[in-house]
Subunit: 267 residues, 2 copies
């Protein structure tokens, strides 16, 4: 149970998953196994899975689908070798009747033969690309979680799911904002290009200093807030839609896959 | 001398050049031979051409080089068949000692065996791409010239040339601004992505309603001004640098080439 001491940016995805499986990793995955795609998970009974798949298809910016498992399967070879969906995430949330009822480090006992897993891209991948391009990401500089906001932007309702878009915000000087748009455009499977920039009130955000999720970060007077569709959106949708049963990862506690970040770049 | 009546968006580049050569076209080329690259021209004696080439290389956003002619040559097969640099532009400017001394419709009599022609990309190409993507360009909507501004952004001095960047401005709603950044990124040879967006004062522009060149356009309160490097920059540089002799096209009176706009898209 000392594996956690050895986990860092250079760990393999397999090592991170094994540490979560063994219980030695129970914390967030940010900064671990750099260079590999980490994914948001939404796990639903088959009876709702077809509807949720249509919902993701209709809302690809907040819900970019990387993989969908076969019903009941705890493996997903598209995501990684020797991967167990029910054990390899450091922390899970269980939803009952539209409320978060539990947080677990293992959902083997909650597993059902009808569960379908949706793996959705996560902004960690494009943040790595931004950093490699020399851009500075404020919440990382300030050792905080990215600020996230509910918006007034309606999602496209489909399959019984709906709600409003949740966005993450990163402030940049104008030239860096332009560069960030170019770089994230290359990664449509991890939210892609921003959905808004500039005046937050135009998308229903009244105060940048009081995010609905995550932490606030400083925004310079010469900087422009840039807003990306956020992977918290589907979790909020599960709650808004009052789903009877669902499992997700716990925010920040992602499934680390064997997919190289670079393989998701369009060009 | 009635060719002009027949020129329109569907004219061939050859027909437009021939009309300029014959003298039946003396006006601007905007809206003619749509789908073909129109270029800014800078024509300099060989003694200054090597320096200007270094200057363009150091400042590719305002001075994106599409072609450089051999000294003394009035043709340029890279730009088009049966093309005469000294006659095929509807209007030229002649500079002497850093001042515009004349406007001509033909510079055959001013031609010299040591003149080198620089063809620089023009924003008409990316504007066509923006319109094809469904974006609305304000100055075209309002039947005006694009507003252009001197800025406080220094160019990289090279080869005896220097000065400040001149930009063009197009206002967009945020989502369209993001789309415009993506589209123009595909066209680095016609100024490429914007150099700035948002607060004009950060690049030394005090009032958007009083452009230094072109016309003012309306900017909605929910819109963001987006600024691109502008082909007027090299003309201003010729003046600032006090060149002894130079020829350029007259603003808006471009050389129409045989190069399809689409061939300049990076991807």
């Amino acid at each position: 149970m000392t594996t956690i001491a050895h986990l860092n940016a250079r760990s393999t995805p397999q090592a991170v998953r094994m540490a979560a499986r063994e219980g030695s990793l129970a914390g967030p995955t940010s900064g671990l196994a750099n260079g590999y795609v980490q994914v948001n998970l939404v796990i639903l009974p088959e009876s709702q899975a077809a509807g949720f798949l249509r919902f993701c298809q209709a809302n690809p910016k907040p819900c970019p689908l990387l993989a969908v498992s076969e019903p009941g399967s705890r493996s997903c070879t598209l995501l990684g070798r020797d991967l167990d969906i029910a054990t390899d995430v450091p922390a899970y949330r269980i939803y009952r009747h539209g409320k978060v009822s539990d947080t677990r480090h293992d959902v083997s006992d909650d597993w059902r033969d009808d569960l379908v897993t949706f793996a959705l891209g996560c902004s960690f991948t494009f943040e790595h690309a931004l950093i490699e391009a020399g851009l500075s990401i404020r919440h990382i500089e300030e050792s905080r979680n990215v600020p996230m906001f509910n918006t007034s932007v309606p999602l496209t309702s489909a399959g019984g799911f709906g709600g409003n878009l949740v966005v993450s915000m990163r402030p940049f000087a104008a030239a860096d904002a332009i560069r960030a748009i170019q770089i994230t455009t290359r990664y449509p499977q991890v939210h892609g290009s921003p959905v808004h920039l500039g005046d937050p009130s135009l998308i229903g955000i009244s105060d940048l200093s009081t995010p609905d999720y995550g932490d606030s970060v400083s925004v310079g007077k010469d900087e422009i807030p840039v807003f990306w569709a956020c992977g918290v959106t589907p979790q909020q949708v599960l709650i808004d839609s009052g789903v009877e049963f669902a499992i997700t990862h716990s925010p920040g506690h992602m499934l680390v896959t064997d997919i190289p970040d670079s393989s998701l770049a369009l060009f």
